[in-house]
Symmetry: C2
Subunit: 390 residues, 2 copies
């Protein structure tokens, strides 16, 4: 089975032996605090390091006082939703967005509404129209949830020229922006784009995570909050998880302080870039002409669009029968509906395996197009042979 | 400053050097999984160990399939409340209960109603009357939240003969029992009482934690769920925290598997018992006759009752001026009201320090009684001298 489904980070570039020694020293020397309850907001050291990290994304005015360390950015999003939303309130999102966020929003019985996007991300004019239409209809819109860099699932990046515009539209409509940026430092080339939060202090709640740039298993993320929200966030966040784990915070701090973490990250990013290239090449080689896909400049994901007649949910089991897994598009849609799109992750498996997986998937898709259209399947441009199969 | 406020566990009996080595080995040898995303339900190994642990509390029919590992039991309680309650729904509790639970309940805008208790815990007849009265008034009661062993804040234990009765009353009224049992293994003598869950499988949701018997800083707790709730719990729990931290689970598993953890726990319990004895002796020696207190058989806390005329909230700052801290009673009351009670924790500080702290507090209380009654303060039985003060 080749899984192109899960968006796990690749951890092979981590210095595990040295990290093990760090953990040993933390427990042996400071176990009385590393294993004890800690502050609900997180350690001062880590919050200060997080501010330095956010400066790499253009946020240079963050204070550790306004940072809350959380159980991954997932629990930050959970607390934000709990603070801002009552049942029935509306949340805006990209046309397709992180399914874990949709799960959180659904848990609070909110009404989630997508805004149209194109290859440059959310379309500001569409955002403006959508807000007006929803507010005219009496909806209480609480925030826009957006993954501006290498969106999950589409891989699309919100264009630089749109960023301030999106923030300003929301500000004018009295709607927070919740900017979820786990992938920002995973860019394969070119300039990093500044976060929306960089130039919009008051209206943007910024979520960050160590899950993609270090370790998801430690479950350490954070929120950078507008000052009026900090106390409420800490009270309601504390009522969900009490405090983030001290040992994990100290290990992240040690990694940022004592290791050449940027070199390890650069090695991981180089790996992701190779894998993206392998996936794009394999798509180009194997997929029928009716299929298109995004070309992400970073992150973990590529988003495929099939002919409108194809329901990708129906392909999941056929693909599993052919030993390849993917996520069907409907899982990422705020409003349940049929989808002719699907997500592939290139982060977690070697380039050669990616090529084989894409080839298997292309056969499933060709068959489906053939059946849907009543025609013979469009042959792949260069089907090659699958070395795993007879 | 002597703090009798915080209920931190004492970690001095932990084998920190050896635990550090365990963490090192986990990261160096299995870092690819210890630092990676894991299953939302938690590892199979830890869930199996948790079942063995619950057998020590009389629960012998638990399956790992029905256990969910959580971020402390706090996040289990958060998820349970999210699953079971809509805004306005009613939750029943002991007369005084864990303030962190009250914070969770308040975050979901529930209506929390106390049930009368005595020295043997919740009074079954009062529970029955209260349920009937509330249901007659049209309230939707969703669960009874109860800490049966060494309650936080009162230290009171629900008597053995009341346990099944409480569970049966709730079952008959179609109300879940949420049994929160972080302190059950911290008994100073006599037989452990079986958990309510031991003989009531269907109606009891059982919450456990490693925070008091191993380490709170790892943030590992769990819920044992009735089978029909498991899927919903995993979905909504996942939308809050995605998955519990893998490294932390593996370290808890190593502690339970490779260490003589019961010997370390016995050493910690012996320490708590000494401290409880020191606090009871100091209370007996220093407190005026108008003050009474509970005599807990385990756990971390003693609950003081002052004359009705005293508002303990007003004493907090006076005590801080005299360099002693406690938690005032109102913090633990489901319905906001004035309280003449207060909580002292004996878990976290040495016996000699406890004696000094109680002596300081006795002077604050004597002064308050003197002022409230318009009389001279009732002299402490044996005021002694405070070695920290001139």
């Amino acid at each position: 089975m080749i899984s192109l489904a899960g968006g796990n980070p690749d951890l092979t570039s981590l210095p595990l032996t040295a990290l093990g020694k760090s953990a040993q020293a933390i427990i042996a020397q400071t176990g009385q605090s590393a294993l004890q309850y800690g502050a609900g907001q997180g350690t001062e050291e880590l919050r200060t390091q997080i501010c330095a990290l956010m400066a790499m994304e253009g946020i240079i005015d963050a204070s550790p006082d306004n940072v809350a360390v959380t159980i991954g950015s997932q629990s930050a999003l959970d607390t934000i939703t709990k603070i801002l939303c009552n049942p029935g309130d509306t949340i805006l999102t990209d046309e397709a967005t992180y399914m874990g966020a949709l799960g959180t929003f659904s848990g609070y019985q909110t009404d989630v509404q997508p805004v149209r996007t194109d290859g440059d991300g959310l379309i500001p004019e569409e955002l403006e129209l959508r807000i007006r239409a929803l507010q005219d209809a009496g909806k209480r819109i609480k925030f826009l949830y957006i993954i501006p860099n290498f969106n999950n699932p589409t891989g699309i990046t919100l264009a630089a020229r749109r960023r301030d515009r999106v923030a300003q539209i929301c500000r004018a409509a009295n709607i927070f922006v919740v900017e979820d940026n786990p992938y920002g430092l995973l860019r394969f080339g070119g300039e990093r784009l500044p976060a929306l939060r960089a130039t919009n202090r008051r209206g943007v709640i910024y979520l960050g995570s160590f899950s993609k740039i270090f370790s998801p298993g430690l479950r350490i993320g954070w929120a950078l909050l507008p000052p009026p929200l900090v106390q409420k966030f800490l009270i309601l966040g504390g009522s969900s998880t009490l405090c983030p784990p001290a040992l994990n915070q100290m290990l992240v701090s040690a990694y940022l302080r004592d290791f050449d973490w940027q070199a390890h990250l650069a090695a991981a990013v180089a790996t992701y870039q190779l894998r993206r290239d392998a996936m794009l090449a394999a798509l180009d080689r194997c997929m029928p002409a009716e299929v298109t896909w995004t070309k992400p400049e970073g992150g973990f994901f590529i988003w495929l669009t099939l002919p409108k007649s194809i329901d990708t949910h129906a392909l999941v089991h056929r693909a599993l029968d052919d030993n390849v897994a993917f996520f069907h598009g409907a899982a990422f849609l705020p409003v349940p509906q049929r989808s002719n799109q699907l997500r592939l992750a290139f982060s977690a498996i070697p380039a050669e395996t990616i090529a084989v997986g894409v080839q298997r998937l292309s056969r499933v898709i060709c068959d489906a197009i053939g059946m849907a259209g009543g025609n013979a399947a469009q042959p792949a441009r260069d089907a090659g042979t699958d070395p795993d199969e007879p």
